[in-house]
């Protein structure tokens, strides 16, 4: 083949290549972005307290083209949770967002899980901390905020302070950290909890009633949303009796907000669960899209709300879910 012929066929070949490339591009330009399937495993996932979290998750799923599956659960145990995760993996979940029921001895399990799939820890980290990516509230600060709310309460009667603490899933690092922050804050004024109740929610109300009759507390602090609800239920059951106990709690369910509005709860610390949900799904989306990315632990902020500032423009936007 002579030189001219060579250049000519080169020209023809390149034009054909361009044509083919453009045709391919044209066909593919309208193709949908691929969707990832992500499963979320939560304790009592259908509970009201997760509304904001799920709203955030759904928003992030929309933004990142993720097919989200929040596994419907009641109160689950440490072993239930692992079974659920395995089942989700079998159902071809490409990523798992999980709220670990127990933060102890979970390291090995998470390590194993991380090999198989993308994992983001939600709500609570595991110990040791900061090894696996997690999206949690700033739990120590929440504890401190509770202590601050108690100590700065103008209605606080300083004599004979008896502090009861409702701790719920004590195996969760988040609970431990909140407790740690609370104790640290109280200790600044030389106070410490009189008793600490560590029980899951179903038995909580009964245990609380028993404890209160044994050692009545003038201040009750609940460290999680279900614990706050249990405490509210306890107060509700004590109708007719003069309330001498002030309740401070952590929570975000509409029930808790309602009783804050009613004045039953003095101060409610509300973790920004919308952000928690949004960021956890965004983080897993990033991990799924860019395999090499390494999400780090993120801490979301919280609000300290009481009856007076509940309806502040800023607060109500975060507190009340817009979806009906």
């Amino acid at each position: 083949m002579n030189k001219k012929g060579f250049y000519f066929s080169l020209l023809i070949m390149s034009l054909m290549l361009i044509t083919a490339g453009a045709a391919w591009g044209m066909v593919n330009s309208n193709r949908e972005v691929e969707n990832f399937q992500v499963s979320v495993v939560l304790d009592e996932s259908t509970n009201d307290r997760w509304i904001a979290l799920r709203e955030g998750m759904e928003q992030a799923a929309r933004d990142n083209h993720i097919k989200l599956n929040v596994v419907s659960t009641g109160a689950i145990s440490y072993t239930d949770e692992r079974i659920l995760i395995d089942r989700e993996l079998e159902n071809e979940a490409e990523g798992i967002v999980v709220q670990m029921i127990s933060s102890q001895d979970s390291s090995a399990y998470i390590e194993e899980l991380s090999q198989k799939t993308a994992v983001i820890l939600l709500d609570t980290d595991i110990s040791p901390e900061d090894v696996y990516p997690a999206v949690t509230a700033d739990n120590i600060e929440i504890g401190r905020a509770l202590a601050k709310a108690i100590l700065e309460d103008p209605a606080l009667i300083r004599s004979n302070i008896q502090i009861g603490v409702l701790c719920g899933h004590a195996k969760q690092l988040s609970m431990q950290q909140r407790l740690e922050g609370l104790e640290e804050g109280l200790l600044a004024e030389g106070l410490k909890p009189t008793w600490i109740l560590e029980t899951g929610s179903p038995e909580m109300t009964g245990k609380l009633e028993q404890k209160m009759s044994e050692t009545p507390a003038s201040i009750l602090v609940s460290l999680g949303d279900p614990e706050t609800e249990s405490a509210v239920d306890y107060f509700q059951s004590q109708t007719g009796m003069q309330l001498t106990t002030t309740l401070y709690g952590v929570g975000c369910s509409e029930k808790n907000v309602y009783f804050l509005d009613q004045g039953l709860i003095r101060t409610l610390v509300v973790p920004n669960e919308f952000n928690m949900g949004y960021q956890s799904i965004s983080a897993i989306a990033e991990k799924l899209k860019y395999k090499l990315s390494d999400p780090v632990t993120e801490k979301v902020n919280y609000l300290v709300v009481n009856k007076e500032n509940l309806y502040d423009a800023k607060n109500q936007k975060i507190l009340f879910p817009i979806v009906q």
């Binding site: 361009i18 044509t19 591009g25 330009s29 309208n30 109500q316 975060i318």
Partner: protein, 617 residues
């Protein structure tokens, strides 16, 4: 100056690269360049037009979408105002609240519009609840007069006021429900026991109605969206409202709130976007549509690809087609050119191509006739030259060696003086016979018989002249006598034979003339017993440039050889065998052609063809 420079450069460049190319190349390249340029221009133009059209259409459709949304929202808000109007003018205004209740009307209105409403409530001027539907249990310790919607209504009593979305904080709902509402409030005149006072009528619209309205608009999940804000830039609806509330997403609402209706381009967070603003009547709310340019580009990707594909495909087709057309035009010319090249390289009988377009065909035909004419001319010239040469050679041959004539005449004179009259007569007779054959009435072709007679005459004269220093023998077969030969071919051989073969032999010279037939050939042989010649000389004898001195009758062997070859063709002529000290044989090789009038004339004119040639034709 610069321009000139550039022109010079261009000129130089063109000169450098515009060397003459083949027609096909020139046609293909120029066609291709022109068509590709046209296609490219057309493609770019069309693409630009398309993009412009798309942009206009996008802007139009966005505007239409916004107008539609605004109309829907306006009609929704108008409905809400109608509810408020109906409540006020048909119930509250006519009733004395001390004796009558507005509850039935209120409940009816609520029930009729409960999809869009959360509650209807009427408050007195100091914030006390007069009536409410569907729930009327107020929260404890609440003063409605402190709330924004209440204050707005009392501040400007002639208008209706729409609030921004907020959580309703009026009624106690033990099912823990909280509602996002947009409050529509107005000042009303309440009559109680004949006393009129000012109150506030509140219609709390369900925020999700507005949300639904906008969700429909934002249904498609692309990066384009529409949001709603009030005139101060406070967001009423945004597809990512909660993200904005929690600082996870930013919107340029405060800046955009300052814009009048219309379309703008803006840079926000490093990305260019097209925004369109539309104000909703009465409320001053603004609907804003955001179209990021990147989403626009994304939408155009397919089109861009299509244009590229179309262009490259067309170019491909055009190039191939051009190649075909140019080949069609150029191939006949190329073939013609190849014929000419063939001709140039020496083929005097080229096959000139005739075909292709009319012009090329004409060219081919003309060229073919030119070649034919040229060949004819050249053939003529060759014949002419041959003839000329023949006659030249013949003329040479026919010349009587004056020396020979002188010697012979001298001998005759001497014989007469010596009164040998018989001898003299013999000599003169021989000489006359010799001359007669030599002349042969101007013919070149004679019979072998005459030729041999001529040789005998010559030898008879020479024998007398050389006083019988040699003997001569003629052994000519009878059948060859009546064959054709070129005249005067034997005599020069005899002259040579006498000269070389016998001159130095002192009377022992023997010359033999033989004539015989071998198949279709005739041979006349002159042999002597002289000194002979070495082989090198023999080889040189029949070449043109021999340096061997020619002696004898001065015409030499070569002359004889050429004459025969010219007359009868290449294979015929002389063959020489010589053996030193033994003698030399010179053989004349002739075709056997019977000596007839016909053949003689044909040979004379050069139109005679051998049987082989005749058979070939």
């Amino acid at each position: 100056m610069n321009k000139e420079n550039l022109l010079d450069k261009l000129n130089a460049y063109l000169k450098k690269y515009m060397k003459p190319q083949s027609i096909q190349m020139t046609i293909a390249v120029s066609f291709t360049i022109v068509s590709v340029a046209c296609m490219g221009f057309l493609g770019v133009m069309m693409y630009n037009r398309f993009v412009n059209r798309m942009e206009v259409m996008k802007a139009e459709s966005t505007e239409q979408l916004l107008n539609q949304t605004a109309i829907n929202l306006e009609s929704y808000l108008r409905n809400m105002r109608r509810i408020s109007d109906a409540m006020y003018y048909s119930a509250i205004k006519d009733k004395d609240l001390a004796t009558e209740s507005v509850d039935p009307e209120m409940t009816l209105l609520y029930e009729a519009n409960k999809d869009n409403l959360i509650s209807i409530a009427c408050y007195s001027g100091d914030g006390e609840l007069v009536a409410a539907a569907p729930v009327s249990t107020e929260k404890e310790g609440l003063n409605a007069a402190d709330q924004d919607w209440f204050m707005a209504a009392t501040e400007q009593m002639e208008n209706l006021h729409f609030s921004t979305p907020h959580v309703q904080n009026l009624f106690d709902n033990a099912s823990y429900r909280y509602y996002w509402v947009v409050s529509l409030s107005r000042a009303v005149e309440l009559t109680e026991n004949g006393n009129s006072s000012m109150g506030v009528l509140l219609v709390d619209m369900n925020y999700s109605s507005i949300e639904q309205l906008f969700k429909k608009v934002n249904y498609d999940t692309s990066s384009e969206y529409v949001y709603l804000m009030d005139s101060n830039g406070e967001i009423i609806y945004h597809p990512r409202q909660k993200l904005i509330y929690t600082d996870l997403y930013q919107e340029n609402n405060l800046e955009e709130a300052k814009l009048a209706d219309g379309s703008y381009e803006e840079m926000f967070q490093g990305s260019k976007r097209l925004i369109t603003v539309k104000t909703v009547s009465y409320t001053g709310w603004k609907i804003v549509s955001i179209v990021p340019m990147s989403s626009f580009d994304m939408g155009l990707l397919g089109t861009r690809m299509f244009v590229i594909m179309l262009m490259s495909l067309t170019m491909l087709a055009v190039i191939l087609f051009n190649q075909l057309v140019s080949a069609q035009i150029a191939r006949p010319l190329q073939k013609l050119n190849n014929s000419i090249k063939d001709w140039e390289s020496g083929n005097m009988n080229p096959d000139i191509y005739v075909g292709g377009s009319q012009e090329t065909e004409h060219l081919g035909r003309t060229l073919r006739s030119v070649v034919a004419q040229l060949r004819q001319l050249m053939d003529d010239i060759v014949v002419e030259q041959e003839e000329k040469r023949k006659s030249e050679l013949d003329a040479l041959q026919s010349q009587i060696n004056p020396h020979f004539l002188y010697n012979t005449l001298d001998s005759i004179v001497w014989m007469i003086e010596g009164e040998r009259y018989d001898d003299a007569v013999f000599m003169i007779t021989q000489l006359a016979s010799l001359f007669r054959v030599s002349l042969s009435r101007g013919r070149t072709i004679i019979s072998i018989e005459d030729e041999i007679r001529h040789a005998q005459n010559y030898m008879n004269i020479q024998k007398i002249r050389y006083k019988n220093k040699f003997t001569v023998t003629f052994k000519v077969e009878e059948e060859v006598l009546q064959c054709c030969t070129v005249k005067l071919v034997v005599q020069p051989l005899l002259e040579n034979a006498i000269y070389y073969g016998t001159e130095e032999m002192d009377g022992d010279g023997e010359v033999t003339v033989r004539g015989y037939r071998n198949e279709q050939d005739v041979y006349l042989e002159v042999s002597d017993n002289g000194l002979g010649m070495p082989e090198e000389i023999v080889e040189q004898l029949l070449t043109e440039n021999n340096r061997v001195r020619k002696r004898g009758s001065g015409v030499g062997l070569l002359n004889v050889h050429n004459r025969i070859a010219l007359r009868f063709g290449k294979p015929y002529g002389l063959e020489i065998e010589s053996y030193p000290d033994e003698g030399t044989i010179v053989r004349i090789h002739l075709p056997m052609i019977p000596y007839t009038q016909e053949n003689q004339e044909a040979l004379e004119k050069g139109t005679w063809k051998s049987e082989k040639e005749a058979a070939h034709e």
